[in-house]
């Protein structure tokens, strides 16, 4: 799902922005996704992410969730449709 209809790119509560958080523990390691924070401003999002992860991070990146184009994922609708018609489950959707 890569279109602007992707619900994962919509604003969350009260129009607050959601920020995906990426963390690297040591410089030789890759960045990894460690969830997201929802906050009314970039500064508050940064403060929240720092509180939750600073102790573990040599680097933290924040990215607005609505700016992330996501290809593939867990196609719940496909799973639900398959199951509800009595067919076999498909497992995780194709990337």
């Amino acid at each position: 799902m890569a279109s602007d209809d992707d619900p994962r790119r919509k604003p969350r509560i009260d129009g607050s922005r959601q920020w995906e958080i990426f963390l690297r523990e040591r410089s030789a390691e890759p960045m990894r996704h460690v969830g997201s924070v929802t906050a009314p401003s970039a500064d508050i999002a940064t403060e929240q992410a720092t509180t939750l992860f600073d102790y573990a991070a040599s680097a933290l990146w924040l990215c607005p969730a609505d700016e992330v184009r996501r290809l593939g994922g867990n196609d719940l609708a496909e799973k639900g449709r398959t199951e509800s018609t009595g067919g076999a489950k498909t497992g995780v959707s194709q990337r």
């Binding site: 929802t38 929240q48 939750l52 719940l76 509800s84």
Partner: protein, 398 residues
């Protein structure tokens, strides 16, 4: 969730031993063995027909973008069943505004998940109650937060109290197990007992009392939380009231949720009122139960699929079930926050670090600790235990 009636009065409630811990599921928490999979609270929608002051989901009437469709919801239920989630709590917003609620309860039941409901009760007609019961719903927890006037003010609508009581009656009339959910604040602590008396007369025999957590609009009214003395009074009164009912042969079930300092306090109370031996039995029971369940025995999936550490902690999400199946997100202990929460005893600071009841409390709410001091492993500001009760000689300087 701490079963006061069980601990103090030895009550064995229906389904004991088969039930699971959940601070919101209105189901029994006390078990002989530690629960392995989380109870999942699912905020099926953000929409609600009321506007409650303390709503952690920040719900209102506006349709929210990105709500899971019926097919997606079934896919989520499949994922939860594959992960052996024992209980799914349909919550909101108000779950009854979802037209496919009965269909989804039916689907979860078919997949072997126990379905329970958290509702404001105002939309439960007798037909709806019957349909939910037929779909396999095991339990409905109905929120009432005071006598009529106070409840209606709190819930933002005149007539909400009467409508909730009608909803409760409709559930009971089709033999659907139904209980009260009551969030205790400074504003409504005085009504607690009268609400129990009134609803007991209606036929309710299960009463869950919630401490305020500081998520969503609950954070905006943190000032209305009880101070230490008022908390002790309210909790003591609940203990006494439970014993009084039982002494009269009226076996109500009472539970406390959301502040695990209550685990410590019930041991202290039992020591004074019931003797050392009974108190030690309770302490042992609570050791198995394991204190605050955030990030372990309870999980939350919100209306758009974001997974949270508890339903109250909506500002942080571990990931989204549209990206990865729930079990993969929940098992991903590479996430250092999740890993640390699951071994929080090593990280607790301040008065929690030296508390003799750490084993049955685990520092209580990390969300309140964050709100109070900005320190994830700092003390819960709502811990009302004295230094003596915590087993230390003086208050630490935190």
């Amino acid at each position: 969730m701490i079963s006061i009636s069980k601990l103090l009065c030895g009550q064995t409630a229906e389904g004991d031993g088969l039930r699971y811990d959940d601070p919101d599921a209105d189901i029994e928490q006390i078990r002989e063995e530690k629960q392995k999979r989380p109870v999942v609270v699912w905020n099926t929608t953000r929409r609600c027909n009321l506007y409650c002051e303390h709503c952690y989901a920040g719900a209102d009437l506006d349709p929210a973008q990105g709500e899971l469709s019926t097919a997606e919801a079934k896919g989520l239920i499949d994922d939860l069943a594959d992960y052996d989630v024992p209980v799914l709590l349909f919550s909101g917003g108000e779950p009854l505004v979802r037209e496919d609620l009965v269909e989804l309860v039916d689907y979860a039941t078919d997949r072997g998940i126990r379905s329970v409901l958290s509702t404001n009760g105002t939309l439960i007609t007798e037909e709806k109650a019957q349909a939910l019961k037929d779909a396999g719903l095991s339990y409905a927890g109905v929120s009432v937060d005071g006598l009529q006037e106070r409840n209606d003010r709190f819930r933002g609508q005149d007539g909400a109290f009467e409508a909730a009581v009608r909803g409760i009656e409709n559930c009971l009339s089709v033999d659907l197990k139904t209980g009260l959910r009551y969030t205790i604040t400074e504003h409504n602590a005085a009504d607690m007992e009268d609400v129990v008396d009134l609803l007991y007369d209606v036929g309710v025999d299960r009463f869950c009392f919630y401490h305020l957590d500081y998520g969503g609009r609950g954070g905006d009214i943190a000032d209305a939380d009880l101070d230490d003395e008022a908390q002790r009074r309210a909790v003591n009164r609940l203990f006494d009231m439970t014993r009084e009912y039982h002494a009269e042969g009226e076996e109500i079930e009472t539970l406390l949720v959301g502040n695990y300092a209550d685990s410590a306090y019930v041991v202290e109370y039992a020591e004074k009122e019931l003797g050392e031996e009974h108190a030690e039995d309770i302490h042992q029971y609570l050791r198995v139960n394991g204190g605050d369940p955030t990030g372990e025995r309870v999980a939350d999936v919100d209306y758009r699929g974001d997974v949270h550490l508890t339903q109250f902690w909506q500002s942080y999400s571990l990931g989204n079930v549209r990206d990865r199946p729930f079990g993969d997100i929940w098992d991903d202990e590479w996430n250092p926050l999740l890993a640390r929460l699951r071994e929080r005893e090593k990280h607790l600071t301040g008065k929690c670090a030296s508390c003799q009841y750490q084993d049955v409390c685990r520092g209580s709410s990390r969300l309140r600790a964050l709100a109070g001091s900005g320190d994830l492993f700092g003390p819960d500001p709502q811990c009302y235990l004295t230094a003596e009760e915590r087993g230390v000689s003086a208050e630490p300087a935190d």
